[in-house]
């Protein structure tokens, strides 16, 4: 019985964290945000060097064949450093889609390139995960896609995009396919790529060699665990920054961190957020080894961490007082990253409803 990280997993997390300390400091994040870079080449290259893009790719296709818990450790570090780098779509959801539903030829064509970081993938599955807004949705007829998908992740400059259609089928679309229009969406979080994709008779390869419905389900589950882990990392960084600031800032002749009003805000943040780590670890473990619990645990991890993340983001900002509200400290990059994570792939209310349905607690209409 061992509920915890292996030595290898601790080392993995340390090495990713150490690298991001160097290559993704706040100044670099700020520069990328100002330039509109959501996939900074230098950061992507360093992550590729650490094998990050091959983690979820099977060893037979040049990857490391690791599990979702390992990927969650990386996502946590990316959130901690608000890294302007693709990960959730290109390193987690696309490999799951190809390995789960791709043909041998599709796997051979793309998995090794994704693993090395030579190719990037986006994912357009928001309608399946969160429901359709503004009547969005993609229909597939005769190998052609029509319609639109909102809130595609990491689709900018992607070589391939995994698209879910309205019927739950999965498709592989080339990033430069004819008839595909990508409209960049500007969100609060300038470190992540978000797009609207418009399809006008776009040629697509179906991903239909495995169980596409199950594969789409697993893409969503995995994505939710990654978003939760990203919020965990971003949230803990905000707590650490709040504690540090409160230890330096003086008012009424003493550091504000010695006031119980401030200390208790910090204690509340830590005691709400730390149990999320245990739940995220289990959700990652369940995805890899307890498939019947994977969707429920992913939903709960996403919902709980999103709720706690919102509390931490506002409270840590309040601890910083007026400075937290300014652009000077850059604390808002974390605040906004947590804000984006909450809305993507199912808001807390929506995923809790799914969690209830998974347990048979929602009567059929």
């Amino acid at each position: 019985m061992e509920f915890g990280l292996s030595e290898d997993q601790k080392l993995l997390q340390e090495s990713i964290g150490g690298t991001l300390d160097k290559i993704s400091p706040l100044e670099r994040v700020r520069e990328a945000a100002d330039k509109g870079e959501t996939q900074a080449a230098d950061i992507a290259q360093a992550l590729a060097g650490l094998g990050v893009y091959g983690m979820m790719v099977p060893e037979a296709h040049g990857g490391l064949g690791l599990g979702l818990l390992d990927a969650a450790l990386v996502a946590e570090m990316l959130g901690r450093h608000v890294a302007p780098a693709g990960f959730i779509a290109t390193a987690v959801m696309a490999p799951i889609a190809l390995a789960g539903a791709g043909s041998k030829a599709q796997q051979e064509a793309w998995l090794p390139k994704l693993a090395s970081g030579e190719a990037k993938a986006g994912a357009a599955i928001a309608e399946a995960a969160s429901g359709a807004r503004e009547g969005a949705g993609v229909t597939a007829t005769g190998g052609k896609l029509n319609g639109k998908s909102l809130f595609a992740l990491e689709a900018e400059e992607a070589d391939i995009i995994i698209v879910a259609d309205k019927a739950g089928g999965l498709h592989l679309v080339k990033g430069d396919a004819k008839g595909l229009t990508e409209v960049k969406l500007t969100s609060i979080d300038l470190t992540r790529g978000l797009s609207e994709l418009q399809f006008d008779n776009v040629e697509a390869e179906p991903l239909s060699s495995g169980d596409a419905a199950l594969t789409l389900r697993r893409m969503i589950d995995a994505g939710r665990v990654m978003l939760a882990a990203d919020t965990l990392g971003a949230g803990w960084m905000m707590i650490e920054k709040a504690v540090e600031y409160a230890g330096e800032r003086k008012q009424f002749g003493r550091v504000i961190g010695s006031f119980q009003a401030v200390k208790h805000m910090c204690a509340e943040m830590a005691s709400e957020l730390e149990p999320c780590r245990s739940l995220i670890w289990y959700a990652g473990h369940a995805f890899d080894t307890v498939p019947e619990e994977a969707s429920l645990m992913a939903a709960h991890a996403k919902a709980l961490t999103s709720e706690v993340g919102r509390f931490v983001a506002r409270t840590a900002t309040e601890v910083h007082g007026g400075m937290g509200f300014t652009d000077l400290l850059g604390l808002h990059y974390w605040f906004k990253r947590i804000g984006l994570n909450r809305q993507m792939l199912g808001s807390p209310e929506r995923v809790r409803h799914e969690a209830a349905a998974l347990q048979g607690w929602v009567a059929a209409d």
Binding site: M1, F3, G4, S271, P275, L279, A363
Partner: protein, 397 residues
């Protein structure tokens, strides 16, 4: 991450199951209200003989004498819970006094007290809090003055659960009035039958007297009945409180209560609609389910750390605060889904489950306050867990 136990532990689990199948008819039906019943005492002796409680207490003091193995303790708990059988006794004597004597008692004290305490023959109460000394326990004022080979004790204790039914008390008293507040306290153990002790029940908001007040008037206690030395009481008490905080906020208890609410929401209806089908009630249930699951996995994480003798740091410090809060919110949800029925109490018609949810809602608020208030927990988390500075002492006027 490996949530299997492996062959050695599964063999141990098989032994526990074997014991349960052979002995389940010996489990007590009546537990006794404030003192264990005859049946409970017999069950306790049987469990000790088989290493299913008092497992790591040395044989010479009446325990089973096994090496500490936290996973085996967990397997025992899992199997007894699954079989719905009562575990070994868990009163303040067993949970708090015994570990303290093992760590700090004299050989004579260990020989005299541990075995009858484990067997449920000697019941203890804890004399710590005073009316003027709650969160600031070290300011306690109950005086013990020297008189030859004895101390003479005068003062008052409060929140003394089971005092009315106890044989003995472990008690903090001020023996060194001139020392600094933390250094003037001693830890004494003495019989509740000693002349000069008066116990008055303390009725709480639940309507029951779960606690007592204890008054000492010229109570004579031999000096030899001290644990560790004079002025060491604060240190001894901290060794004991460490054991108490582990008892509060158990995540598996929250899991059991969550299941009870799930059943309740499937059985009860409003306007003919099952409560589980009510989307707002159900959403509150789902929010709490996530928190309960998180704390259950958190418990496994702490268990692993303990079995590897690693310090889990802040992860451990939050357990009392979070665990008690979640239990309280569970009770609140059960009351809310029941609507007006939720306020019924006592022996009212239409009462559900003997009014247990209102009782828990009130009693669990007591647990948020007791054993270190939520605010004291937040001080501990911020100071020891996050390294934040202590509140400066007010300047003397």
């Amino acid at each position: 991450m490996d949530l299997t136990y492996g062959p050695e532990y599964e063999a141990f689990r098989a032994e526990v199951r074997d014991f349960i199948s052979k002995n389940r008819d010996k489990a007590p039906k009546r537990f006794g209200v404030s003192r264990p019943s005859e049946e409970s005492i017999a069950w306790q002796k049987l469990l000790i003989e088989h290493g299913l409680t008092a497992r790591t207490i040395p044989k010479e003091y009446g325990g089973y004498g096994a090496e500490p193995d936290i996973l085996k303790s967990r397997i025992i708990a899992e199997e007894f819970t699954a079989a719905k059988l009562p575990m070994g006794l868990a009163n303040q004597g067993i949970s708090m006094l015994v570990p303290t004597l093992l760590e700090l008692g004299t050989e004579e004290q260990k020989k005299k007290w541990i075995e009858p305490t484990l067997k449920g023959e000697v019941i203890w109460c804890q004399g710590y809090s005073e009316p003027g000394s709650g969160s600031d326990l070290a300011s306690l004022q109950t005086k013990a003055t020297e008189d030859g080979d004895d101390f003479i004790i005068n003062g008052q204790k409060i929140w003394t659960s089971t005092a009315h039914a106890s044989d003995m008390i472990f008690c903090l008293v001020r023996t060194e009035p001139d020392a600094k507040k933390h250094e003037g306290i001693s830890y004494l153990i003495f019989p509740m039958t000693t002349p000069g002790i008066e116990v008055r029940p303390l009725k709480t908001m639940t309507g029951h007297a779960e606690f007592n007040e204890v008054f000492f008037t010229n109570v004579r206690v031999p000096k030899k009945d001290i644990v560790a030395g004079r002025g060491q009481g604060w240190y001894v008490a901290n060794a004991t409180l460490k054991h108490e905080r582990g008892m509060l906020g158990d995540p598996n208890q929250a899991g059991t209560r969550l299941k009870e609410i799930v059943d309740l929401m499937h059985e009860e209806t409003v306007d003919g609609m099952r409560l589980i089908d009510h989307p707002i009630y159900r959403d509150r249930l789902m929010q709490l389910q996530a928190r309960v699951l998180a704390m259950q996995f958190h418990g496994l994480r702490l268990l692993t750390a303990a079995s590897k003798k690693e310090d889990p740091g802040i992860a451990r410090l939050i357990v009392k605060l979070q665990g008690c809060e979640i239990n309280h919110q569970l009770a609140a949800l059960a009351i809310d889904v029941l609507g007006e029925i939720g306020v019924l109490y006592g022996d009212s018609p239409h009462l559900r489950a003997h009014g247990i949810w209102q009782h828990r809602y009130m009693f669990d608020l007591g647990l948020i306050i007791g054993g270190g208030t939520a605010q004291i927990q937040k001080n501990i988390i911020s100071e020891r867990g996050l390294g934040m500075p202590r509140e400066p002492k007010p300047a003397k006027a």
